[in-house]
């Protein structure tokens, strides 16, 4: 695990000679002045699953768009499967599959027609293509619905078709941009299973972006935390979590409290650190959660802040995120949402 310094970011894994994806110093500023990437660097080893974790607007989708040749970086360089994405975009397109954040299925065609057209673009045809289509439909349990119009599919089925489309030509590298966003928990769990199976079976390299900590934790061998267009930390999920000493203490208030009041109340409590307000509650880190909790509650009580509940948890990736960016994922999300007024990038 490597914690990356915000300025001249040098990641150990970038030296990896057989990395399947290598991005160096990517900078992207949109015409409206929004800086989406601010020198992002990372690399992904062949055959592994790498998750870029961060809130909406952190630059994850922009990164995927640059690596998949849809968009161009203002500066920096990137290779996918050893091919330079800026100099040779058409060669890159032959070896990658991509499942964009927004579904790209043709709702007015059947599942099979969608897959057939996609296959044609890669020069596939004949019995080989039909066999591949049948195989993919079976793998994603879409065989029964194969000849129905995609408009009638559930969200989960459409998402699975999206992934099947990205796999039709057996790509060396698969990009999954927030694959489970907007799915119900059941469909999400099913998709996670499919993605795990994929990476286990066919030795494909997968770059996954997500703002679900659980997703990164569960699927990826390596996690890169992105904040405001740069990589702020990188490591295995376990490694990142073990960096944190102690437990997370989370107190829920009866109402939203003033930030300075909460900080003043908790300033004198022994053994707690990294105090951060989160909605109508506060999150802090304690060496021993169980022994720190009574002191925290007493201090809040003295300050006249009413606590509804207290929760003590072992470190999660959310805590890792908080540690490296100074804010929780949820706060970062609402912050970017306010900045971009709901605009998607």
């Amino acid at each position: 695990m490597t914690a990356v310094n915000p300025t001249p970011a040098v990641s150990q894994s970038r030296a990896n000679p057989d990395a399947s994806i290598r991005a160096e110093g990517l900078v992207k500023t949109y015409p409206n002045g929004v800086q989406a990437l601010n020198g992002l660097s990372f690399s992904v080893a062949s055959g592994s699953v790498y998750a870029l974790l961060g809130p909406n607007g952190a630059g994850k989708s922009t990164t995927v768009k640059i690596l998949t040749t849809l968009s161009r970086a203002n500066s920096g360089s990137a290779t996918v499967a050893g091919i330079d994405v800026m100099r040779n975009p058409s060669a890159v397109r032959n070896v990658i599959g991509c499942v964009a954040q927004k579904s790209g299925v043709d709702a007015n065609a059947t599942g099979r027609e969608n897959l057939r057209l996609q296959g044609r673009f890669y020069g596939l045809g004949g019995a080989a293509l039909e066999d591949r289509i049948t195989e993919l439909l079976a793998r994603f349990r879409l065989s029964e619905a194969a000849d129905k119009i995609v408009r009638t599919f559930s969200g989960g089925m459409q998402r699975k078709l999206d992934i099947a489309l990205g796999l039709i030509h057996q790509p060396a590298v698969l990009f999954l941009d927030e694959p489970t966003t907007g799915l119900d928990p059941e469909a999400r769990a099913e998709l996670w299973e499919e993605i795990s199976r994929l990476s286990g079976q066919i030795g494909i390299t997968i770059l996954l972006t997500t703002h679900y900590l659980e997703e990164a934790d569960r699927l990826a061998q390596l996690v890169g935390i992105v904040d405001r267009g740069r990589l702020v930390a990188e490591g295995t999920p376990e490694g990142l979590k073990s960096e944190l000493r102690g437990d997370a203490v989370h107190v829920e208030f009866a109402q939203i409290e003033d930030e300075s009041r909460v900080h003043a109340a908790l300033a004198g409590v022994d053994g707690i650190a990294e105090i951060a307000l989160e909605g109508a509650g506060v999150r802090a880190r304690a060496q021993h959660g169980a022994s720190a909790a009574p002191g925290v509650l007493a201090a809040l009580d003295r300050a006249g802040i009413k606590a509804m509940s207290v929760r003590i948890a072992r470190p999660s990736l959310d805590d890792v995120y908080l540690k490296h960016t100074g804010r929780s994922l949820r706060d970062a999300e609402s912050e970017t949402a306010a900045q971009t007024k709901g605009g998607k990038r």
Partner: protein
């Protein structure tokens, strides 16, 4: 060649979608049929003016209605690509090695095929209403060819506009602003010698004029073939230029991403 095979599969995609909603073909005919009925009645007697070479206004109007219908069909074509943009379909295509030209060409070819079907229905309706086509079996196909060339060119430009502005309202606005005046600045409803001088001059650079003149000439009993040929050639160049513009528009679209 990849551009040809990709265009073929893209055309197939759009024709399949159209065949699943065949009522669209009829729905698109409502407006031209209204023109045919209303203008056909309203201007029935203008043929009595010197300058018309026919005594039958419906026969004069008919190629104009076919051309106008094709013009509007082409002008609105950008709406289709906006729907695909919103559904993420275009982005998915751009991530594959598919020929960019084919992404546009497939839409245009499918549109022209449905446009030709609509034109045939209109030509038949016109016949029932008393229009006569002197050029017959050669003239009607040539009218279709000229109308479809113009439709293809405007369809490509409409797609280009849609890729750049990516808003339905803008495509609707631009089409409304541009297309209706273009039909009046061409000898659609009125013979050219009867149009005001400045309108006659403006009509010379109007692709709608080239199209309707090619079609009308081809429908005459003894057409001036070189007049037909030169207009079809100009229309073909117009199509190729518009296709080039539309393919370039993908770059502008991707630059904004």
């Amino acid at each position: 060649m990849k551009v040809i095979s990709d265009s073929f599969y893209m055309t197939q995609r759009h024709l399949m979608a159209l065949m699943r909603q065949p009522f669209w073909i009829v729905f698109m005919l409502v407006q031209p049929v209204i023109w045919l009925l209303l203008y056909g009645q309203l201007f029935r007697r203008v043929v009595e003016l010197p300058g018309f070479q026919t005594g039958n206004y419906i026969s004069f109007l008919m190629p104009g209605v076919v051309v106008t219908s094709a013009l509007f069909g082409g002008g609105w074509a950008g709406m289709g690509i906006i729907a695909d943009l919103e559904r993420g379909v275009i982005d998915r295509f751009l991530l594959t090695p598919v020929s960019r030209t084919a992404v546009i060409a497939g839409r245009i070819i499918a549109m022209c095929i449905s446009g030709a079907v609509q034109s045939c229905i209109l030509i038949s309706l016109g016949f029932l209403m008393g229009a006569r086509y002197g050029g017959g079996l050669v003239g009607i196909p040539l009218l279709l060819v000229s109308a479809m060339l113009m439709m293809a060119a405007f369809g490509a430009l409409s797609n280009a506009l849609a890729l750049v502005v990516r808003k339905e309202e803008s495509v609707i606005g631009a089409s409304n602003m541009l297309l209706l005046p273009m039909t009046f600045l061409a000898p659609i409803y009125m013979a050219k010698p009867l149009m005001p001088g400045w309108m006659q001059k403006a009509s010379l650079v109007n692709p709608v004029t080239w199209t309707v003149e090619a079609g009308r000439e081809a429908l005459r009993v003894s057409p001036n073939w070189s007049a037909v040929g030169i207009r079809l050639l100009i229309l073909l160049i117009f199509v190729l230029a518009s296709m080039w513009v539309a393919t370039r528009a993908f770059r502008i679209y991707q630059r904004s991403m």
